[in-house]
């Protein structure tokens, strides 16, 4: 079975009922995607499938075969000079010094990045609602709010620069 993850093709064993989170973490070693509840409650396992946030703990491989999957490891891009460029959401999380333990952070960042990809100019309320199903046990909510608001501003800007 072929999986297309972060721009790379992977071949994994057949068995379409397996859950994406375990294939990523245990079979492919892409442990940047975390697991918190394995039941859809916490959001730690969030990845993007065709740009849309998906809980990989609820996603059988059959549903993503052949689709474009992005995990936290694939969110940063290479600039023309070869340097790595963090995604604006990642950069905002660094700037606001958001993570504590960090276990929830891949999910937080993927959720925010997917949401901003679809709604680049949200209100703060919309943003917070979009983040409402991602738990952070360390309680970084204050900074998550600050970072996603900053990233929203930035992605609006980035969008308009591209347009210009």
């Amino acid at each position: 079975m072929d999986l297309h993850i972060n721009g790379t093709d992977y071949t994994v064993a057949e068995g379409s009922g397996r859950l994406l989170v375990y294939t990523l973490r245990d079979e492919l070693g892409l442990t940047g995607t975390k697991i918190g509840c394995a039941a859809g409650f916490c959001g730690a396992c969030t990845v993007m499938v065709e740009g849309v946030a998906r809980r990989s703990c609820l996603t059988p491989l059959a549903e993503v075969e052949g689709k474009s999957i992005t995990t936290i490891e694939g969110l940063a891009r290479r600039a023309e000079d070869g340097a790595w460029l963090l995604h604006p959401v990642q950069q905002a999380f660094v700037d606001a010094q958001v993570p504590q333990c960090g276990w929830c952070m891949s999910g937080q960042i993927m959720t925010a990045a997917a949401y901003l990809g679809q709604n680049p100019a949200p209100t703060e309320e919309e943003l917070v609602a979009a983040m409402a199903e991602n738990y952070c046990r360390c309680g970084c909510y204050h900074r998550i709010r600050r970072a996603v608001v900053a990233a929203a501003g930035q992605s609006v800007q980035a969008g308009s620069e591209e347009a210009a």
Binding site: L19, G29, A76, P99, A129, R137, C138
Partner: protein, 744 residues
Amino acid sequence: MSDKIAKAPEKVAGQPGRSRWRPTRRGFLIGAGIVAGGVALGYTYGVPWVRLQMAGIFDGAEGPPGSFPKEPWAWFEVLPDSRIRLYLMKVEMGQGVHTALAQVAAEELGIGWADLDVAQASTERDMGDSLMTSGSSSVTGLFEPLLAAAATFRSMLAGEAASLLGLPADQVVVAGRSFADSADAGRSVEFYTVATSRAEWEVPQEVTPLKRWQEYSVIGQSLPRVDIPAKVTGQAIYGMDARVEGMKYGAVVRPPTLVALPKSFQAGQAGEVEGVIQVVIADDFAGVVAESRAAAQAAVARIDATWDEGHRWQQAELEQLVTVGGSGGVVIQEVGDVSRWLGGEGTLTAEYRTPLAVHTPLEAQAALADVQPERVRVWCSTQGQGFVRGQVAKAIGVDEKIVEILPTYVGGGYGRKAGWEVAIEAARLSQAAGVPVHVGWTRAEEMRYGYFRPLTHHLLSGRVEKDGSLVAIEHRQASGDVAFDFLPPFMSAVMGADFGAYRGATIRYDVPNKRTVAYRRDMPLRTGWWRGLGLLPNTFAVESFVDELAHGAGMDPLAFRLRNLGDEGDSGRLKRVLQAAAELGEWGKPAPAGRARGIAATIDVGTPVAMVAEVSVDGGSGKVRVHKIAAAMDCGLVVNPDGAIAQVEGNIMWGVGSALIEELAVQDGQVVATNFDRYPLLTIQDAPEVAVVLVDSGDGKPRGVGEPPLGPVVPAIANAFFALTGRRIRQLPMNEARVKAALA
């Protein structure tokens, strides 16, 4: 298998340093199937990148508490690129300890921040520290030893550099990653050249002079945390992520009730599940090793286990068990004579209760064990690798000397990762199967099979003079064990009362008569370390009650507190944080319509903290909303102010959750929750706005920040609820049912 799949290269952080003090290098695979040419992220940040190169510390649980590495080689290594690596035995669980300790080291090394690298030490690197990463003690405990080690290390290298350059020692200065002639920058020698120029080094006898705290330039800066780049890019490795070649997955049979004892285990149908490698059966233990987690979990459910299930405990029985009274109370504070003042007319009394709670870190317990005849290695998320080492050795019957524990990043500790169950499970399964085995607990296991914040019960009585001065307060509290479950029985016998359970219980106001009595209650489930230990329950009770006394005396709760605190010492420090929090939280100004404010304060591990909470309540649903919390904390000399503020923010969220929603229910002998549906956590939508101010009492001493801010959160909210509604909720959590009942 497709040719697109190739072996991952061994991820080895850093290059070998100098053999004299170089720890053994170990490969650490990031997954067994990374695509060749796939993404291997590597950022240059200009800040040190925390490596997952792990080598040793802790001398096991035997060492005297509070002993620290004395010689600089234990801490430092010069890398071939002349950066200096700092090895830390303290684990990073989000509290920013690696950054803070790196700042302490950088201060006396006198090198650039980017030239310092930080690495987690494993138990192999004999650093002789027997302490856990806990109790908000890492920076305070290591501050002076680390400053001294760094200063000594620098002066040894500088002295050697001077002789290599043929200069007097006082004429060499640090220039980047070199020592240079202060008169001629062209004459220099790199750190690595200096470090490798001798085979043997002598640690100087005389003490290298340290900077005065007024001269600090790295300490006191809000430098960016060294672990954050790895955490926003998915590169940070936690126990749940630990991978080595050839590893398999394990799962373990769990008891059906809180007190169940195994009668027998039989493999049953477990071996028939596809992917099972071995079913492991012992008298007290049964588990499975399989090719995948799914197979291990499916198979473990098919092991035939019979149990002596014991009594099926109910919630109400537990509450009754944890009730103040009877014999066995230990007086832990006695000033004056409360009995002369309390009991008669004018005495106010009240009763408080707090429920069981569970840490439920988002990364569940996880360990990877590789048990070989001559050598045992365990990678795990742990706050106490020295204890894990001893426990694993005992469990699998080997000499502790061959056991190495390699701590990873910890995906949430809060006291829960001070345990060692999962490391033992992985080690037993690995020993039986002869392959490395990873055990990662499920959320249900994390909810049910660890240890909990105990139930508590508090009886308070107090009396206030007409002028608003406190005459007497008594606090009697009962709690399940906190520390005693983890200590040798003789200690509990000697101490009688569990210091963890009564943390925060004593009365800190200047009252001529005060008394605190602790009752130890043995609960039929494991209770133990939980962020702040007894601080949250006790501060909830005491600071709610102080508020009741203030209102009873017809006084403003802030004015009442200030009235009963002196200006000197801790009283004065407490007073100043109360004033600072009041100012930040707009105490005394009218709250927005439909809201009210409450205040509370505490002093814990020498750090006073005060908070003002602003709340509203939806009378229809009974939902309390915490809009804002303003906090003031005096943690003395702050190594990293932004990091300290982040700890206050996190504690506030943790406290809001405990105040409003968290309660672990027991029914028919078992914890009800198996996942977040029955034990929900606070979400960003219910998170308050927070404002934090740090107050420095100016004595140049750092104090703990990881837990003290947890104290005032809950009573500040409860007191605001009273200010808003005139009703007091004395049992946590203040959930919708209780709020509606209180308002009815």
